[in-house]
């Protein structure tokens, strides 16, 4: 199979997955037995209010027509109008997505050294005290739920040593420094949560690579251990970690839902929780499809990256 065909198949499958996701979301929220309007307004709603909402959501149209209208809108970049505020969803989503992208970038900047350094220490001191201690710390952190981790950081840096704000309020008028201060704790929480998986995987990969012949060769020709580790072993150990990073990006979308709630940070995750609380179905659908698209996109990029970085897959 040529590389172009491989890449093409992968991209087509991703699109198919997203179409299926849209069907699942639409099916869950709008086709399930029971009236959508009643589910939004509750059982005590008056018949007039229900009729009004039904007309607003075009609930009297056949399901198939509604699905294709919705999907067509998304493809044109039009997510419709939010129920609660009657504002276009694109206008509501844009600033929230901006905040979350900023937060995620900040988290990724912390995540890279946070996963590289422990893994490198573990791999170079394999089966020594340090290796075991980091493994145990890792397992403990793995077991700490995000909302507890966030709360612990909150207690540490806002209550015990009050140097950071407990509530991460930012808006368009906030300065860059205010943004940075507000984002620090949520970003650290997300970075730790992501690094846990990466450290484990990177350590195992590094050790596997360190045992390979070409690394032995590099050692035997007298290269200093640091150069062997960083220049010869690390690049090869990073390729499988790409996959974890993609999984992490997927995690990040769920993670921001929790972390933004813990720190009251006005991002995409908070918006999603709010829209769920108010049962704002058009807004929920838009948010979830975006979340799934990010996940599918990240996995696609990781796969494409793995194909392009692997010379063995490049023949033909």
């Amino acid at each position: 199979m040529t590389i172009v065909r491989m890449l093409g198949t992968r991209i087509l499958l991703s699109i198919l997955t997203l179409v299926l996701v849209s069907i699942i979301i639409f099916g869950l929220l709008e086709v399930l037995p029971g009236d959508v309007a009643t589910r939004i307004l509750g059982r005590d709603a008056t018949p007039e209010a229900l009729a009004l909402l039904r007309a607003k959501l075009h609930l009297n149209d056949p399901t198939i027509v509604r699905y294709f209208n919705w999907l067509g809108g998304i493809l044109r970049g039009d997510f419709g109008v939010a129920l609660t505020s009657s504002r276009p969803i694109t206008d509501i989503l844009a600033p929230r997505l901006f905040n979350t992208v900023l937060l995620s970038l900040y988290a990724f900047v912390i995540y890279i050294p946070l996963s590289l350094i422990p893994a490198l220490i573990q791999a170079s001191r394999r089966d020594q005290e340090v290796d075991h201690v980091i493994s145990i710390v890792n397992l403990v952190f793995l077991s700490i739920p995000d909302f507890l981790l966030g709360t612990l950081l909150l207690v540490a840096f806002c209550v015990a040593i009050p140097i950071l704000p407990a509530v991460s309020m930012v808006d368009e008028s906030s300065s860059a420094l205010q943004y940075l201060r507000a984002m620090t704790l949520p970003a650290i929480t997300l970075a730790i949560a992501m690094a846990i998986a990466a450290v484990r995987m990177l350590r195992d990969n590094l050790i596997e690579v360190l045992d390979s012949d070409y690394v032995r060769m590099a050692e035997l020709k007298g290269l200093p251990p640091r150069a062997v580790l960083l220049r010869h072993a690390l690049p090869n150990a990073l390729v499988p970690t790409l996959n974890v990073t993609a999984i992490n990006l997927g995690y990040l979308i769920g993670g921001v839902v929790i972390v933004e709630k813990v720190f009251s940070y006005p991002g995409f995750g908070r918006l999603l929780v709010d829209s769920l609380q108010y049962r704002d179905i058009p807004l929920i659908e838009a948010s979830v499809i975006i979340a799934a698209a990010v996940y599918v996109g990240a996995n696609l990029l990781a796969d494409l990256g793995a194909i392009l970085l692997n010379p063995r897959l490049r023949n033909g």
Binding site: R39, P145, A193, I258, K261, V288, A292
Partner: protein, 295 residues
């Protein structure tokens, strides 16, 4: 992608080794789990106050001998609430994971055995379910069920099953693809056994070790899922002393009585530590590499 199957043959004899010969992680995990199970089973009988009893002392107080986890805004003893909540958290987590395991194993093994276009369609569908971040899928499923069912424990159990079934199915399918190649499956097929019978009598027994580790792995994260939903206000209904919900109820007390939030949090974390250690030890005995990645 939580686990990579390395060997398919169950090494049951390995499970029969003596206690001191078990891996350290399994022994520590088992002890922690045992303590949690004892608390869950007996807690409701020895807690000093009722889980919803108000006026147990001055509200909003921190740690003391009489109230190790402090007292919340309504004057309820947080320690009693946390201990009483243990059986709820464990019940929801284990039953949800178990239903997810049963559905996932049936779908995955069947899909791997039958193959062809049935398998293709199922795989695409499972992939799509996995592409929705699990917490987001859980939340929309709860909202989709409607206000009438919100806070219903059965709904929560089904939601956990919905999250795990596709992930477990993917693992079960991978195991099935491996087992299908064996001669005894071919023989069973030639004997004219039905697909269902081959799946049940040939595939299932040979996939038990994969499924066992998969169950333990998922069960380890289920309490976090239950807690996360409770914390966000989409879990069990408010007076229920579920740990995530207690943490979110006491969030405003964090500056002057942090123990009211950290107490339930540490109970949750210790349960998950126990489950994860146990899983790691178990997978080591069964000769599997487990990557605790997919949260």
């Amino acid at each position: 992608m939580a686990m990579t199957a390395t060997a398919t043959t169950a090494r049951w004899s390995a499970l029969r080794r003596s206690w001191p010969a078990m891996p350290m992680s399994l022994r520590i995990g088992a002890v922690i789990l045992l303590i949690h199970f004892i608390i869950a089973a007996t807690g409701p009988f020895w807690i000093p106050y009722g889980p919803s009893q108000i006026g147990t002392g001055p509200p909003l107080s921190g740690m003391s001998w009489a109230h190790p986890f402090g007292i919340d805004q309504l004057g309820r003893d947080v320690f009693s609430r946390v201990i009483y909540g243990a059986h709820i958290v464990i019940f929801l987590s284990l039953s949800g994971t178990f239903i997810g395991l049963v559905i996932g194993a049936i779908v995955g093994l069947f899909s791997g055995y039958v193959g062809g276009w049935t398998d293709d369609i199922l795989q695409r569908f499972l992939e799509a379910l996995i592409s929705i971040p699990f917490l987001v899928l859980a939340l929309i499923a709860i909202v989709a069920a409607g206000p009438a069912y919100s806070g219903n424990p059965i709904l929560l159990v089904l939601v956990i099953a919905l999250i795990y079934a596709p992930r477990i199915a993917r693992m079960a399918r991978a195991a099935a693809l491996d087992i299908v190649m064996r001669d005894f499956v071919t023989v069973a097929k030639l004997r004219g056994e039905s697909a269902w019978s081959v799946v049940r009598r040939e595939l299932l027994p040979n996939a038990t070790s994969v499924l066992l580790v998969e169950f333990a792995l998922r069960a380890g994260y289920a309490p976090v899922l239950v807690g996360s939903l409770g914390f966000l206000g989409f879990g069990v209904r408010p007076p229920t002393p579920e740990w995530g919900l207690i943490m979110s109820e006491n969030r405003s007390l964090i500056t002057f009585a942090p123990i009211t939030v950290l107490g339930p949090g540490l109970m949750l974390a210790s349960l998950v530590v126990g489950l994860n250690l146990f899983t790691e030890g178990l997978s080591r005995i069964l000769g599997r590499t487990v990557r605790l990645v997919d949260k």
